[in-house]
């Protein structure tokens, strides 16, 4: 989480310095959801992160320099300059990434999980999605198909109460959490700002999935502490609400826990800062993406590279 936030803070400052092209989106305040959920996955479990889920990329092992280089549109950024901001994946690490069309990766996650089930592999696929994205037809088709085929999938709903500027009250009248049941999908709600709670919820969902119990929808209650993007001051969010959630900052909370466990959190944070400083230098030193590369790779030639495996430091535990 600390590293995730540090990377996003750096990306944002680079953006404000005018060095990051296009627009910039972050997941400030929601780090616990992306990080906790992805930590509970095995190395072979693919993930489809969304706008607020840089933490998922970080946990899967995409290096900070590759991410910052990507923000900057550099040749050795993870997307080699083809994608920007939060729109990227890391094929070698089991990160399919997102498409802008929400929630376009839900059916894709269902398809991956479906394949695992058909092949009898003990793997699952995880897709994040926002509360607003549940209004889109794709969400319904994916949920219906997942429930019907009982695929080993985990759907993490990032319930931050807003879709861009639009509050949930103007998105739906019944909470998406309650909708899981009409698809025959198990549901759980969790404090999205408590990284351990998210981890545990996903760990259980993963066990269910691997044991043939079908998909689970996990509603992580959280709050988007920044605007939708760097251009959005989120003035439509009541100040009190933000204060309330500021007090529930996922990192501050975890900090206390770890301190009690005797972990030197300062050292961790210092380490993250140092890593991001070094990564920033590395990224800024990367050459701009080579214009000649713009025309290649539309089609795959030769044997396709399959989705690789990511880092899964806790997966042994997750599998336990």
């Amino acid at each position: 989480m600390v590293l995730t936030r540090a990377i996003e803070e750096r990306g944002l400052s680079l953006y404000k310095q005018g060095r990051v092209p296009g627009s910039f989106y972050d997941g400030r305040g929601q780090e616990a959801t992306a990080v906790g959920a992805t930590f509970a996955l095995g190395a072979a479990d693919p993930v489809c992160p969304l706008i607020r889920d840089l933490g998922a990329h970080v946990v899967k092992g995409t290096p900070a320099a590759a991410i910052l280089g990507h923000y900057l549109g550099r040749a050795s950024g993870v997307s080699h300059g083809r994608e920007g901001n939060v729109h990227f994946g890391d094929a070698t690490r089991g990160v399919v990434g997102m498409v802008s069309m929400l929630p376009g990766m839900m059916p894709v996650a269902v398809g991956m999980a479906w394949a695992f089930k058909l092949r009898g592999e003990r793997r699952c696929a995880l897709s994040f999605f926002g509360d607003g994205a549940t209004s889109v037809g794709d969400w319904h088709e994916a949920m219906n198909l997942a429930g019907l085929q009982r695929v080993p999938a985990i759907f993490v709903l990032e319930h931050n109460g807003y879709a861009y500027s639009t509050p949930s009250a103007r998105q739906f009248v019944v909470d998406p959490l309650e909708r899981a049941a009409v698809y025959g999908i198990a549901a759980a709600t969790v404090d999205g700002n408590d990284v351990e709670a998210v981890f545990d919820a996903v760990r259980l969902a993963r066990e269910r999935a691997l044991d043939g119990g079908g998909p689970t929808l996990i509603a992580a209650q959280t709050m988007r502490m920044h605007g939708h993007g760097a251009h959005d001051d989120a003035s439509y969010v009541p100040a009190e609400q933000l204060e309330l959630w500021a007090a529930r900052d996922p990192i501050a909370r975890q900090r206390e826990r770890l301190a009690q466990l005797g972990v030197d959190v300062d050292a961790v944070e210092a380490g993250a800062r140092a890593e991001v400083d070094a990564a920033t230098q590395e990224a800024l030193a990367m050459p701009a993406a080579d214009p000649a590369s713009a025309l290649t790779g539309v089609f795959c030639e030769g044997e396709p590279q399959l989705l690789g495996s990511g880092a899964a430091p806790w997966s042994g535990f997750a599998a336990a």
Binding site: S79, R82, E83, N85, S135, A288
Partner: protein
């Protein structure tokens, strides 16, 4: 009054809302927030949330709902947050809206506003030019203004039109282009316009490419170059196109959209069949190659047709 391209569109919406109570705006975050690009800023305040309506993220329902409202007498104007999302309501547009009048004799006067185009480091999902898809779907009109006055005039013409109209507003022009815009109500006819005189060669373009074409023309002192701004793609002003070919006998057609089956392909095929005898040289096309629009400025510049490519194409053809 002098307005930016974006202000001209806002003014057109305001005029329509003021003078015609049947007019209704539908879209995501277009209410109090004023839309992702602030095109509808202030309109919800002036006309109320019953005429400037925030919808859930449901593109199919936005278009289908607009069609339903239209056939019982409303004049809905829908905003896609980015043109790219129009693929999410493709079915309602091509199969419901486009075919309704032919099949059932019911007119569906809706306008679908698409903030489109590249040059803003938007990457693969915030840079697309989808117009050709709709040119290939009978029953839909398609317009693409290149300047402020046309943007307002074509918008008012689109709202007055009894048919579904796809309105392409170019993001790159939003704040970069400004010009004199008449007050109040006026309608720009859906036909082409010569924006620069000349008789050695004609460059045919629309939208943002009109400006690139003009710059390229300016750069060529040695010849007199005409620039034709199509403004409307459906109906296509075939007469104006063929007249230009007759007068200039050399033609360069510019598309910001991907090369294959673009608007320019249709224009070229029209000329190759009906303007053949007037031709003195090949029908030259300049377009974005068939690749997704990459994010990095270094890559995007390598795929979008720039002033240089257009100028060189003209020079080469002039030397033919």
């Amino acid at each position: 009054m002098e307005l930016t391209y974006l202000e001209a569109i806002s003014d057109g919406l305001r005029v329509a809302l003021r003078e015609d109570e049947r007019v209704l705006l539908l879209g995501e975050d277009i209410g109090a927030f004023g839309g992702a690009f602030k095109v509808t800023a202030g309109l919800a305040e002036e006309f109320g949330s019953n005429r400037v309506i925030d919808t859930p993220i449901s593109e199919e329902a936005i278009i289908g709902g607009a069609v339903g409202a239209a056939i019982v007498g409303m004049r809905p104007v829908c905003e896609m947050q980015f043109a790219d999302f129009v693929s999410c309501c493709f079915d309602q547009l091509v199969n419901v809206a486009g075919k309704l009048h032919y099949r059932v004799g019911l007119a569906a006067p809706i306008v679908v506003r698409l903030p489109s185009g590249g040059g803003v480091a938007g990457g693969p999902y915030h840079s697309q030019n989808p117009e050709a898809w709709f040119m290939h779907a009978p029953g839909l009109k398609v317009v693409a203004p290149s300047n402020a006055a046309d943007a307002k005039g074509l918008l008012l013409a689109a709202i007055a039109d009894p048919n579904p109209v796809i309105f392409l507003e170019h993001k790159y022009l939003y704040r970069r282009i400004r010009g004199e815009v008449p007050e109040g109500h006026y309608e720009t006819p859906l036909c082409a316009r010569t924006v620069r005189g000349g008789d050695d060669l004609v460059v045919i373009a629309y939208g943002a490419m009109v400006h690139a074409a003009l710059e390229a023309a300016e750069a060529i002192e040695e010849a007199s170059i005409r620039v034709l701004d199509l403004r409307a793609l459906v109906p296509l002003d075939e007469r104006a196109i063929l007249d230009c070919v007759h007068d200039c006998s050399k033609v360069v057609i510019v598309d910001e959209a991907n090369y294959t089956c673009a608007a320019g392909a249709q224009v070229a095929s029209l000329i190759a069949q009906y303007g053949y005898e007037d031709l003195d040289g090949p029908v030259v096309r300049v377009a974005t190659p068939d690749v997704p629009i990459p994010f990095a400025p270094s890559l995007e510049a390598a795929v979008l047709p720039g002033v240089d490519r257009i100028r060189d194409a003209c020079r080469e053809l002039l030397a033919y």
